[in-house]
């Protein structure tokens, strides 16, 4: 779908104007391209068409032809007559054909919409003040825009269960459901976990799980986003915050190398929820439930909030100073991270060059679910390849370091985010080694480290990641970090400035990108940070095509494609 010119374009007549639209799309999309809204509930661009809500009714007609001869029938002015269909048709289920005429603003359409709204509202509770959907509710919006504005219904409304548990993360408010079946189709089509269905008839119709099953797959919360009303609610977010208080900033999910596009919603510096952001080349409109939990790490009690030297709390600048003395060790090793942003990895590579340090990297791997959680559980492994921090594919441990230590070629380690002790190193081995730790959360390494420099999570800084299909995507700071903390970029830049007084290293992303995109052999050549579009840039990955990437075929990703040039 989409109108990128690859598909042929046809002309239709929308409300009396001839407009060009791509062939093969339906009327809702066609009207949307030209700025006309056709209200709809059950239609979702990334799900099959069900056509059950009837909100999208429009008037349609085709140029008339004689049945026998196929000759166009003309009116007295010599213009071909339009054969208007006497009843409205659903826009979602009707595809455009050349010469088709549609009316989205006629009185018949208005009447239809009013009628549909009235029926939908007959049994809809007056819940808006307590409904989590209020503010982003299609029913509210369309009732205002296309509804009658008053109710003629004097009978008693239906009463249905308000707190049905559909699964561990989803609660259903039955009264509010408008039976659009989006959630059912999502489970069938996207997750292939057929658990939801309607039972009973008429006004008794109810959404429910099949007997003995529950909505527990790792994508269940997408049904909450899909639901045009407040029927499906997130048990986690339920009654927590009204959506109109939330500030949304675009981010990238760090759960795995899939790099789902997300919206981080926060109020006054506190993140309240994470929802998927539509990107048709990466995650459509979905994301995994597990990724939505990640914001909780921001306020985790294990969060590192103060810098320390030899377990003594101190201010950040003196901690950086003592880290710099450690870094002057000739036998330095740097442990990078696939969780760091591209810019951080670049500066780290530069630091390794300045200090002539050895570089180490660990991958984190898990199971691939074939959708949006990939086997590589880091957001930016590809970044280490592109920035040159690493040339080979990392393993899930750091045993390389043990060898280096055993050979006595390492006596100081700068560790970014990784935990040495669960990566195959023993406390005994590390006894004589000084450790500088940069990271967001406490772990065994940070408690052993000589210098601890707390840094910021991906919600508290801006930067970019490269996902499994070598797509470069940027994320924006959503909330301010804890008081007194600086982003990793700043810390590493101050190392560089202290170690090499001659060249000034900035910690500003835009300027770092100027250095990053200089080399013409690099796929980042000529890219400007500010020019990276919201849905990312596809990079050339031929250089790494013989590496053994662990990801399996999944949504918008096929391992084989990496071998081909896929420049955008």
């Amino acid at each position: 779908m989409g109108s990128n010119g690859n598909t042929s374009s046809i002309t239709i007549n929308l409300n009396g104007n001839d407009v060009d639209v791509p062939a093969g799309i339906n009327l809702v999309e066609a009207a949307a391209i030209h700025g006309t809204e056709v209200p709809h509930y059950c239609y979702h661009p990334q799900l099959s068409v069900a056509g059950n809500c009837r909100m999208c009714l429009v008037e349609m007609g085709n140029p008339m032809r004689d049945r026998g001869t196929g000759e166009p029938i003309l009116d007295e002015n010599g213009v071909q007559k339009i054969g208007w269909i006497p009843k409205p048709v659903i826009g979602c289920g009707t595809n455009v054909t050349p010469g088709m005429h549609i009316k989205t603003e006629s009185s018949m359409v208005t009447d239809s919409r009013e009628g549909i709204m009235e029926f939908l509202l007959v049994n809809h509770p007056l819940d808006c003040p307590i409904c989590d959907q209020a503010g982003e509710c299609r029913l509210q919006e369309f009732a205002t825009d296309y509804g009658r504005g008053y109710s003629r219904y004097v009978e008693r409304k239906n009463v249905k269960p308000k707190r049905t548990r559909l699964g561990p993360r989803v609660t259903l408010d039955d009264e509010r459901c408008i039976l659009c079946s989006r959630c059912i189709r999502f489970c069938q089509e996207v997750v292939d976990d057929d658990v939801l269905g309607f039972v009973d008839r008429g006004s008794f119709s109810t959404l429910t799980c099949f007997p003995g099953k529950e909505l527990s797959n790792n994508y269940s919360l997408n049904t909450v986003d899909l639901c045009p009303v407040g029927a499906l609610t997130s048990t986690d977010f339920r009654f927590k915050m009204r959506v109109w208080f939330l500030k949304e900033s675009p981010g990238i999910c760090t759960e795995s190398s899939a790099g789902s596009n997300i919206l981080v919603s926060s109020r006054e510096g506190v993140i309240h929820r994470i929802t998927p952001r539509r990107n048709d080349s990466v995650n459509d409109s979905w994301m995994a439930d597990s990724g939505r939990e990640l914001y909780k790490s921001v306020t985790n009690e294990k969060r590192l909030l103060t810098s320390s030297v030899e377990s003594q709390k101190c201010d950040l600048s003196s901690a950086i100073n003592s880290a710099v003395t450690f870094l002057q060790d000739k036998k330095l090793g740097i442990v990078g991270s696939c969780h760091s942003s591209l810019e951080e990895q670049y500066l780290l590579t530069k630091l390794a060059k300045t200090t002539k340090a050895k570089k180490f990297l660990r991958g984190h791997f898990g199971d691939d679910d074939g959708i949006l959680v990939s086997a590589d559980r880091t957001p930016n492994l590809r970044g280490t390849l592109v920035t040159g921090f690493s040339t080979k594919y990392p393993t899930d441990d750091l045993t390389e370091i043990s060898e280096a230590i055993d050979k006595k070629s390492i006596s100081t380690l700068l560790v970014v985010g990784e935990d040495l002790f669960n990566s195959g190193l023993t406390p005994d081995q590390l006894k004589g080694v000084s450790i500088i730790y940069i990271g967001t959360h406490e772990n065994a390494t940070s408690s052993r480290a000589n210098v601890v420099l707390p840094s910021l999570t991906s919600f508290e800084k801006s930067g970019s990641f490269i996902n499994r299909s070598f797509r470069l995507q940027k994320f924006k700071q959503a909330v301010p970090g804890p008081a007194g903390l600086l982003p990793d970029l700043h810390i590493i830049a101050s190392f560089l400035n202290a170690l090499d007084q001659e060249k000034e290293q900035t910690s500003d992303i835009v300027s770092i990108w100027k250095q990053l995109s200089k080399s013409s052999t690099n796929p980042l050549h000529k890219i400007k940070y500010t020019d990276i579009p919201q849905d990312g840039i596809q990079l050339d990955s031929t250089r790494w095509s013989d590496l053994d990437f662990v990801e399996k075929k999944a949504m918008h990703f096929s391992p084989r494609k990496l071998n081909k040039v896929t420049q955008n």
Partner: protein, 181 residues
């Protein structure tokens, strides 16, 4: 340009020019004022009469059944121009039978009276008619914390007001005798 018209002034008479008669008139006025009724209100002992539509301290009210009406929709928090209101929403437990179909109620509700400007927007916006600016006008405290009215204080100040809608009662009866599934 507007035309300037100079109006001729009546020349003052001699007695007017001495100003003395005018001064005497003035003295008479002030003197007679001394014996008029005084308008001073001896405040702590005498209280002013509060007009009906007075906007005093914002308070939370309960319905005649003693239920808290506020459902923590946070509209008042949203509308409040000086951001005086702070609500932490909470869920009502499922077994609380008195609160048929009200699933949400404020866990905490704070109005900072040092911020409130008594505009009454909160009362106007409230969809549940739960917040009212009533007659209370004197609020004072020794610290900033004391000037933040907490939920219990707000209910204590608010009391119960008559309710013409009984919205939740209607839903409860609908649930109890009919249309239930």
């Amino acid at each position: 340009m507007a035309k300037t018209v100079v109006l001729p002034r009546e020349p003052l008479s001699l007695s007017e020019r001495t100003y003395l008669p005018q001064i005497v008139t003035g003295l008479k006025t002030t003197f007679s004022n001394m014996f008029k009724e005084k308008v001073t209100l001896q405040y702590p002992e005498e209280k002013p009469i509060i007009p009906k539509n007075y906007r005093g301290v914002p308070t939370l009210v309960k319905d005649p059944n003693g239920r808290e009406k506020c459902v923590s929709c946070q509209l008042c928090e949203f509308v409040c121009p000086p951001k005086a209101i702070r609500i932490t929403p909470g869920a009502v437990s499922e077994d609380d039978n008195s609160r048929a179909h009200v699933e949400k109620a404020p866990k905490e509700f704070e109005i900072n009276m040092l911020r409130c400007i008594y505009c009454g927007y909160c009362q106007e916006v409230c969809p549940e008619e739960a917040i009212f600016l009533q007659e209370e006008y004197s609020s004072s405290g020794y610290s900033r914390e004391e000037m933040i009215n907490k939920k219990d204080k707000l209910y204590e100040l608010g009391g119960t007001l008559p309710d013409s809608h009984y919205k939740w009662d209607k839903k409860k009866s609908a649930e109890d005798d009919g249309n239930d599934h």
